[in-house]
Symmetry: C2
Subunit: 491 residues, 2 copies
């Protein structure tokens, strides 16, 4: 079977080498000046060396005024830096580069926040204009595409929202009026960049808040964007202010509630919890005869294989990997070289998300060696890590609270060990990847009394070389119900 | 293809006539005395005449003390009323009857609520005992099965919850300790009712709140319940206190937040949004060799056909229809008679949910005639409604806010018109059921500029007879962008 995720795809006139995308991720690597700097260049060229099909550079403000420590493109002085960034992305590999452009409203430490119903019509018109101006600058800077941010807690998403409280023609009385400003932005941007330039739109296919909109509305939002000529829609979920955590004296942050978990699903979520949104819109597009607009799905999709299965099932056209590509930017290249087993796999512990929430530079705090601001480069190295002469000495023991603690010895590698992967088989089933980590111990929070567990580990180095599998540590967790132990049946 | 949903199924020793279930629904039909009364009998015998496979009678308190206006079974004096109810359910049709038993903690108008970490060990032991006692009484009353409520905001769910803050062996340190009390309840109930008596468990397969558990934990919760001999698990989602609306001076109510929308998905949600939970657990059971325990899925599953598709896909073993069977208790019978097109279809407007939230008797406020406390009975009547001599005079007009308003004339029927169904086709596609209603007008909130809509209606009477389809009203909603109208392409 063809590996669809490695197949080229065309977005408008733009040819992509494969169907793997880095969705826009906040990095907090830029300063208050809003300029492209070396850290930004290092972050994005890394993805290009990893052969990502399309890199969507992080949300860049269309505002003319200062807008905090993030990239800006609100005036012409910012173009040069972006031109340099795009050039370097192109120089480092096959990746194409899109720029995500964003408008957001004011927010205060008091908890007050500006909402779309507070905007005058002139302010609304200025926002539409600012999107057009920024898109034109993105094209001038050499970006291969522009992506309009209409997702999460930001201005255009708030117009789309079922919580839009305006009563005029830009308001929440109907889906038509909620769509008005986003539609005018699409028209304005298209008029400014021309019909051959790829425009993507990222929006929430489900708000994931009380009385928010869901897939039923999202189908029609996507249809409108398609009818206005969007070349792709990239589907997110949640990330709203309405359920954000409120801390006295701190401005609310829109990814701190349940809806934020739906944007970046943590380990407690199943894999790919948001794919049904793409699948629903794709089926709707098929019924409506819409074939031009491509659909990007995102959210805890672990590997190229998992993404390929989604494409094969016809649920989406392209796969966005955010945290997975942050953890290992070489993922597409490893997939192309048929070395998917050497991918350093995101554990979805959301340390990156917490860094963002705490206004710190975003890095992979679970898997990258402590001192790295970016993912380690793969050196030329054919030598795999090995276990000590007496083996990994892996053991599994029961904690008093019923959790299983697995420990093993450090492996040895001339260029250094990067980390360990731990695999587990329950009740004699298949071994499955449980986690990846830098340490030599792991606590399995899900191990339950009455079941048999087998664990094994392997070490990997910076080049992706793997050690042999360790021996297997076995444990049957005893039933906590002494008198009724026979009720708990181990298969 | 065999219609799986109409096929018999066995739960432990209990044979069900089909795979359609009424999940426990709050009715507020019982009084402060907690006794079975005529309204309760009328509500549940109606389902039996409709040929529902298994009726799960609403959550009944295991408490010995007063517990508000809901059914109780905390002492032997309540048995007689339940015995009468079961007898009448059996006398009225083929349905089997299960009783759902519940424990919940205290809550105050101040917003204060008791949580599981406030319970002494003796209180915990008393709760376990109370479940055993109530289950034994349910069996004595003649119920065909008992269902343990471990879902939503109630005591056993709060032990399972990732928010369980106890630090002892009943606490939140690990999934094992969170499972301890629910496991002891299972063991206690099984010891009291014997091994041949069917025990079901309803629990949340996803909490749908920030830092709640999800499907990953739910798989292991289901496995534990299966290992302890649960005959079915009935999967719900959400319904928690953690995101409930807070109103000064009112006790918080656990279905008022986003998680409550996931319990009873409103019209804005796609169909069957929670089926992936059942599908995930079913696949996990297959991998673990668990075949005894049946899986019930619920949540905005519209029709027997839709339920059958879920069963055919192997995503669940039985289908729970709550609001759909409230709207039309004759749904299973109509499916058996191949008259599914005569079902009065729930519109998921959640008027029933609002009645519950306002402490009012729960009825279908959208579809039942105003004066009915229960679903109308189908009389002997072969005469279908007809349109007036000059037709239904259906018309579709654009409101100034962009919504389409459809109006038509009342139909005529000698025994009275019950309601109308409206169907819509977008851009020349298939006609789809849009809504059912008692009035002769409808506002389509989703109609969008740049698209062509066709509407038609039909009337139905109390026997389910349908009028002919009305003529078709057509409207092309003009683009709101005068200068750019050509951008909005109608296919």
């Amino acid at each position: 079977m063809t590996n669809l995720i490695l197949a080229p795809i065309r977005i408008n006139q733009l040819a992509l080498a494969n169907r793997m995308i880095v969705p826009a991720m906040v990095t907090r690597l830029s300063g208050e000046d809003g300029l492209v700097n070396q850290a930004i260049i290092d972050r994005y060229t890394r993805f290009s060396r990893g052969e990502v099909g399309l890199i969507v550079v992080e949300a860049t403000a269309v505002h003319q005024s200062k807008s905090g420590p993030l990239l800006r493109l609100g005036s012409d002085e910012f173009i040069a830096g972006h031109r340099d960034l795009v050039q370097r992305i192109h120089d480092n590999g096959p990746s194409k580069a899109a720029l995500q452009i964003i408008h957001f409203l004011k927010i205060a430490r008091s908890g007050w926040r500006q909402t779309v119903d507070m905007l005058s019509k002139d302010e609304v018109k200025a926002i539409i204009q600012a999107y057009g101006d920024a898109a034109a600058r993105a094209r001038e800077a050499g970006y291969d595409a522009v992506e309009l941010h209409m997702a999460h807690a930001y201005t255009l998403s708030s117009f789309l929202s079922a919580h839009n409280k305006r009563r005029d023609e830009y308001g929440g009385r109907s889906l038509e009026t909620r769509l008005r400003v986003p539609s005018e932005v699409m028209l304005q941007v298209r008029a400014r960049v021309g019909k051959d330039y790829p425009i993507g739109v990222r929006f929430d296919a489900e708000e994931c808040i009380k009385d928010g909109y869901g897939l039923n509305d999202a189908k029609y939002i996507a249809l409108r964007l398609a009818q206005l000529g969007a070349d792709y829609v990239s589907l997110s979920a949640g990330g709203k202010f309405e359920d954000a955590k409120l801390e006295p004296g701190e401005a609310p942050y829109p990814y701190t509630g349940y809806s934020g978990d739906r944007t970046m699903p943590p380990a407690s979520f199943q894999d790919a919890p948001n794919v049904y949104l793409a699948a629903g819109i794709k089926a709707f597009f098929a019924a409506q005869g819409q074939t031009h607009t491509k659909i990007v799905t995102t959210g805890k999709i672990r590997t190229p294989s998992d993404g390929d299965a989604i494409l094969q099932a016809g649920q989406a056209d392209m796969i966005g990997f955010a945290r997975a590509l942050l953890a290992d930017p070489d993922m597409p290249k490893k997939a192309r070289l048929n070395r998917e087993h050497t991918i350093v796999r995101c554990v979805y512990g959301n340390v990156c998300k917490q860094l963002d929430e705490n206004f710190k530079q975003v890095r992979c705090g679970s898997l990258w060696p402590r001192e790295f601001l970016h993912a380690p480069e793969a050196p030329n190295d054919d030598i795999a890590p090995v276990w000590p002469a007496d083996g990994a000495s892996i053991s599994a023991k029961l904690n008093e609270d019923g959790r299983v603690r697995v420990t093993w010895k450090a492996a040895i590698d001339p260029q250094g060990v990067y980390g360990y992967e731990i695999f587990c088989a329950v009740n004699g089933g298949e071994f499955q990847h449980l986690s990846s980590l830098l340490t030599t111990n792991y606590v399995d929070e899900t191990a339950l009394a009455g079941n048999a567990y087998q664990y094994r580990v392997r070490a990997y180095d910076f080049a992706g070389n793997r050690s042999l599998d360790s021996a297997i540590a076995e444990i049957v967790v005893p039933a906590p119900f002494a008198a009724d132990a026979d009720v708990l049946k181990v298969r």
